[in-house]
């Protein structure tokens, strides 16, 4: 079918129609998927680079805290209680005489583990509920959306306090489960909206006209096009969930000693008298927490800028 191009042929009206197919083959450049475009944007966004480096660093110390903190976070010398920074102990000692630096480093693990696990739970639950409601519509939409509304009406912090104070189990899993169980409605709403938008595209009709099954349409066509706002929301939520864990630990219903976490340390340091005498025991874990939350929220913003095609 392809014909050789004859660019120098002087005017022939029919000839143009013959060559047409060949000339249409102008090079659209190398293959660039939407996600590779987004990645290209992200790499050039300083906000993303900074937050990503910060998060990478936090993840590394969460997994291998011993790489930068050689001491045992539970090894405490009461004799050095509330002592200020000293050589080898740059952040000073807390009430129990434990090394604040070591505890801040080890605290990352619990905080980030709760954040990541709870966010995964929230994202999966929210996407499934919202996605099904948006895709099937009608009765299922009404049922699932009203259920979402009921959960949405429960204030997250209050609900978590009530449930956690009833459960009275230690470790991170009760906290993760309660946050996941209460936090998903926000994601569900976003997922539902995104699925409804994606569903109206002609390519969904095209797939249906080909005889594609519902599961194929959902997984191949709708989900990949609806997931971006969920990813953005989840990244931002990750930051707030870490803050929520700290809040719950501070209130005494989240993580409890001997688990090492920023919330636990902030709670222990929040006695007014101690703060006046030894502000470092509150400042360092609080700064670590703020930095971590900020990093995730910044990352969420940068990802939104890259994924939102409307801003292009």
């Amino acid at each position: 079918m392809p014909e050789p191009t004859r660019p120098d042929t002087p005017l022939d009206a029919q000839g143009a129609a013959v060559d047409e197919a060949v000339i249409t083959r102008t090079d659209p450049g190398r293959a660039r998927s939407l996600s590779s475009d987004a990645w290209h944007d992200l790499r050039r966004n300083p906000v993303f680079v900074i937050s990503a480096l910060l998060i990478l660093f936090l993840l590394v110390i969460a997994v291998w805290p011993s790489s930068i903190a050689t001491r045992d976070p539970l090894y405490c010398q009461l004799s050095r209680s509330l002592e200020g920074p000293a050589p080898g102990h740059w952040f000073g000692f807390d009430t129990q005489g434990c090394d604040v630096y070591t505890r801040v480093v080890y605290g990352a693990r619990a905080s980030i583990a709760v954040g990541v696990c709870a966010t995964l739970g929230v994202a999966v639950l929210g996407t499934v509920v919202g996605g099904l409601a948006g895709f099937f519509g009608g009765f299922w939409d009404a049922l699932l959306s009203r259920t979402t509304d009921v959960f949405f009406a429960v204030p997250l912090v209050l609900g978590a306090i009530v449930f956690l104070s009833m459960i009275k189990l230690s470790g991170i899993w009760p906290v993760v489960l309660v946050i996941a169980a209460l936090g998903w409605p926000q994601i569900a709403r976003i997922a539902r909206g995104a699925v409804i938008t994606a569903k109206q595209n002609d390519y969904v009709q095209a797939a249906r006209a080909l005889g594609a099954s519902n599961s194929r349409i959902l997984l191949r066509h709708i989900l990949p096009n609806a997931i971006a706002p969920v990813i953005v929301m989840a990244t931002i939520m990750l930051g707030t969930i870490i803050a929520l864990e700290a809040t719950l630990s501070f209130l005494g219903v989240g993580l409890r000693p001997p688990t090492v976490s920023w919330g636990v340390d902030i709670s222990a340091a929040s006695d007014g008298m101690q703060f006046r005498n030894a502000p470092h025991i509150l400042l360092y874990p609080a700064a670590a927490l703020s930095l971590c939350v900020l990093a995730f929220i910044m990352m969420g913003d940068a990802v939104r800028d890259a994924l939102d095609p409307k801003l292009r």
């Binding site: 660019p7 005017l11 143009a16 129609a17 047409e20 000339i23 944007d41």
Partner: protein, 365 residues
């Protein structure tokens, strides 16, 4: 001609900064409109026809857009040198614009009467009651039935055609000297399209306004325009009175467009198709931007950007029997080129090195 000249755009250049680089949307666009005249600006998407209009109206998004050169002379003043406040005072009383999508151009939470009356309140300091009365008057003038009862209705309560009439009424409110209509009927059905174009033509005659009609539809142009400026890749490629252009286009692109439309009165066979695709403005081909798609491309077209040559009957007649070789020889002569160059806006012109052959070919068939 010069006394009547209402608007003159000279060598307008506009750039857009995008994430893929700088897009040169306009590369020296020049055209003029006289009072009472309809100039159709014809082009495909990306040709720069709407960008020119936005630059004239002063509603170009800057950034990412940037006017890098040229002048827009409106009633003797260069608009590009005026302050924002001075330009704002020109929009409305002196020039107005009609958009393609009437629904998104009207505010959905304000009644149509309020939006029509707003012009009188802002520019003329009219009272509320007075403004409403003028709004009803305007709606009657654009032939909206039962205007009095509908003046307090909201935009969504009107049909597409009626909304476009309201847009026209709004543009007309202060009886401007120039109206720019950007694809005013593209979103409308054929039968409604005819109504709206008729209305626009009547009103233009009545007020002796200059009208710039931006469109991609050669049929609409033939029905209403006096003169046509054809745009391609941010340049004017042909400028001609409508009848002359349709009778014998002087640019291969115009000819291709005319040949490629299926006609109601002709049927069957393969349609003539311009090969290839409109250029990507990030990588406009060198030389004549149309050369990769042109059926009469020569080596010169790949290297030399053609200026706008004056197209005159005499010149065309003289070359009537010229072969391709001869035309090449003639154009290669720099003195001849100088003669061919056009300083005069409004005269018939074509940005093709081989316009003579194009015109002659068109005449012959």
């Amino acid at each position: 001609m010069t006394d009547d000249r209402l608007l003159e755009v000279r060598d307008l250049e506009v750039e857009f900064t995008t994430r893929d680089g700088v897009v040169r949307a306009l590369n020296g666009v020049s055209y003029g409109v006289d009072a009472g005249e309809t100039l159709a600006v014809l082009g495909e998407s990306g040709s720069g026809k709407s960008v020119t209009a936005q630059a004239i109206m002063g509603i170009l998004d800057m950034p990412p857009g940037r006017i890098t050169g040229g002048e827009i002379i409106f009633q003797g003043r260069d608009l590009l040198r005026l302050s924002g406040e001075e330009r704002r005072r020109i929009r409305g009383p002196k020039m107005a614009m009609i958009f393609q999508d009437a629904l998104s151009s009207l505010n959905p939470v304000l009644s149509v009467g309020y939006q029509l009356g707003e012009m009188f309140r802002v520019h003329r300091g009219a009272s509320r009651k007075e403004a409403t009365a003028r709004a009803v008057e305007l709606m009657e003038r654009v032939r909206i039935p039962a205007a009095k009862d509908r003046v307090n209705d909201y935009p969504h309560e009107f049909s597409g055609g009626m909304r476009q009439r309201i847009m026209i009424a709004m543009a007309l409110a202060l009886e401007p000297d120039l109206i720019i209509a950007d694809e005013p009927t593209t979103a409308l059905d054929v039968t409604v399209q005819a109504q709206v174009m008729d209305l626009l033509a009547d009103l233009q005659r009545e007020y002796r306004m200059g009208l710039i009609l931006i469109t991609h539809d050669l049929g609409v142009v033939a029905d209403t325009a006096d003169r046509i400026a054809v745009m391609y890749a941010g340049r004017i490629v042909e400028n001609a009175p409508v009848k002359e252009l349709y009778a014998a286009p002087a640019h291969p692109y115009t000819k291709g467009l005319l040949d490629s439309i299926p006609r109601l009165d002709q049927k069957g066979g393969q349609l003539y198709a311009i090969r290839g695709l409109p250029p990507n403005l990030l990588h406009v081909p060198g030389g004549c931007p149309f050369h990769p798609r042109c059926p009469r491309v020569r080596d010169r077209c790949r290297t030399d950007l053609p200026p706008l040559y004056a197209v005159s009957e005499q010149a065309a007649d003289g070359a009537a029997d010229a072969t391709g070789e001869r035309a090449e020889a003639v154009s290669a002569d720099p003195a001849q080129d100088e003669i061919a160059r056009v300083p005069e806006l409004g005269a018939r012109s074509s940005a093709c090195h081989y316009w003579k052959e194009t015109v002659d070919d068109a005449r012959r068939t």
